[in-house]
Amino acid sequence: MMWIAWKMLIGNRVKYLGIVFGVVFAALLIAQQSSIFCGLMSLTISQIRDTEGPDIWVMDRSVQYVDDIKPLADTELFRVKSVPGVEWAVRFYKGLGRARIQEGTYQQMILLGLDDATLVGAPAGVFMGSIADLRKPDAVIMDDAGYKRTWPGEPYRLGRTFEMNDRRAVLVGLTKASRTFQSFPICYPRYSQAVLFAPPERKVLSFVLADPAPGVDPEEVCRRIEERTGLQALTRSQFVWKTIRYYLQKTGIPVNFGITVFLGFLVGTAIAGQTFYLFTVENIRQFGALKAMGTSNWTILWMVLAQALQVGVVGYGVGVGLAALFGQAVKGGLRLSFFMPWQVLAITAAAVFVIVLLASLLSIRKVLVVDPAIVFRS
């Protein structure tokens, strides 16, 4: 009987495509908007992700997210180092600087100052020059997107110079780096260099990056650091989620995306529901005939649900497929962040399931109450 349901469904091409369109529309909008949202969220944590090596980030207690810098005194580094279970700890600068390019233009840049001795936190994707070159005087490494933004249309060339806070900076390397939320170029100097590039402040230490001793639980080490220094210590994962939570709770971003997703859900439900209902009404005599011939209400119920599920599966597949194609298309060209984790697929699937369920509810009621004697009426 499920086969009959399937044939009935695809037999009316126009209606079938109409129902599928509604689900595709909803799935596409939900998956695409959710993926852009996830992409934006991933931008907010890109600098935590890209800073390889340390498992623990130590900061002022009032820091709420990665870009919320509350400088510490340089002496905090030694206090952190003295906490039992800390294998090592280094300084890390994060701030903004204004670069004056030789051509006379200005460009705001994100400064990530790496520990002079160890260069902990250096980017892993250097594709031109080398990290070791950072030890040269005035040396900086820049991300490739930042390079293109600073010198648009020009080929990659090391040795270029620019000024920051009246200090000379020399480009010694280029790296791949995740895009940031502000989309500024990322500039990696040594810590001692970074504090000179930045506007002068009394305290300049942004974070202390640390690693737990082998065999010691990082969360336990964080707890000890907080206990002994009064600072805030978070594992990398904790800091990532703290940053994401901040953007979720303190910005309007989730609401804006949520509204679009909800509209997609509503419109998809309306289109799919209305078309599915019309499809059922159009076939009501056929359902009546099947009931008259001895098809039970349960079987009829399953037939309608199978039809709805079939539409849902096809609509979901096409919808998320289109969303993925969209993501692939904007990956290179448009500066639109797009990240589709499995959770987006799962949420979209759940939403589509609810849509087809809601869409089929009216139809189910209609076919269940249809009098099999309807077939005797001309």
Binding site: N12, G294, S378
Partner: protein, 264 residues
């Protein structure tokens, strides 16, 4: 010849029938009301009717006289308001809805005025629907249905969709669908009203040739006086009642043939 010639209307035709075991349908005092209160409509007003096995009974009468309501009750698709309905030995009034569904599935074949074929299924697939409802595997059901269609002269139309068939051909597919699971009661609602005279005659011939069997009963609701000739008996309805039951031309012919062979 007038099918409802009062001269040939038996006073109590049911009395001539043998015991209940010979009756496929036994209806007693059936009433059916639609609506409630002041807006109540009485579609049937105490109908009595017996249909023996091996008979083709026609229900005739003007529109709104209750033919369709009566046949719906006999087929188990409608509940009577009051009265007794026994079909093929089953008490339909006492039967639960679930059992009634199974009863229809196993025992009743339907031929509708509007055919009610599923437009997305081929002729063979449409004819196989009752077998699929009964749980047959698709291939076996379609094969069995194809055999029936072949018998009905549609062997070359098995893969055709209803939209590719003429009205007469569609009705033959509907007949195949009604007979494929070998039901013991065949209910036909205006099977010829949408057909021209020739196709109507062919349809009735097919119903008579294939469906009328000693262990089966056929009830045909019709307005079409051209097909009265195929009836064993004709029950004439008026205002929710059976006004008269006449012996149909077919039974008259059979009786006269028997008499002739007896005299020989």
């Amino acid at each position: 010849m007038t099918a409802l010639d009062p001269a040939r209307t038996a006073a109590t035709p049911e009395a001539a029938l043998a015991g209940d075991r010979d009756l496929a349908v036994r209806v007693r005092g059936v009433t059916k009301e639609f609506g409630t209160g002041d807006s109540v409509t009485r579609a049937l007003r105490g109908v009595d009717l017996d249909v023996p096995y091996g008979e083709l009974l026609m229900l005739v009468g003007p529109s709104g006289c209750g033919k369709t309501t009566l046949v719906s009750i006999i087929a188990g698709t409608l509940e009577p308001t009051a009265g007794e309905v026994a079909v093929l030995g089953f008490d339909l009034v006492a039967m639960s809805n679930g059992r009634k569904v199974r009863f229809r599935r196993d025992n009743v074949g339907f031929v509708y005025q509007a055919y009610n074929l599923l437009p997305a299924l081929t002729a063979a697939e449409n004819a196989a629907v009752p077998l699929l409802i009964a749980g047959w595997r698709r291939a076996a059901a379609v094969e069995a249905a194809s055999d029936v269609l072949d018998t009905l002269g549609l062997g070359d139309k098995l893969a055709s969709l209803p939209s590719e068939l003429s009205g007469g051909q569609q009705q033959r597919v509907a007949i195949a669908r009604a007979l494929v699971h070998e039901p013991r009661l065949l209910v036909c609602d205006e099977p010829t009203s949408a057909l021209d005279a020739e196709n109507g005659r062919i349809t009735m011939e097919l119903i008579q040739r294939i469906a009328v069997q000693p262990d089966r009963a056929v009830i045909v609701v019709t307005h079409d006086s051209r097909v009265y000739a195929f009836a064993d008996r004709i029950a004439s309805m008026e205002d929710g009642r059976i006004e008269s039951i006449a012996v149909g031309p077919r039974q008259m012919r059979t009786s006269s043939d028997s008499a002739a062979s007896g005299s020989l």
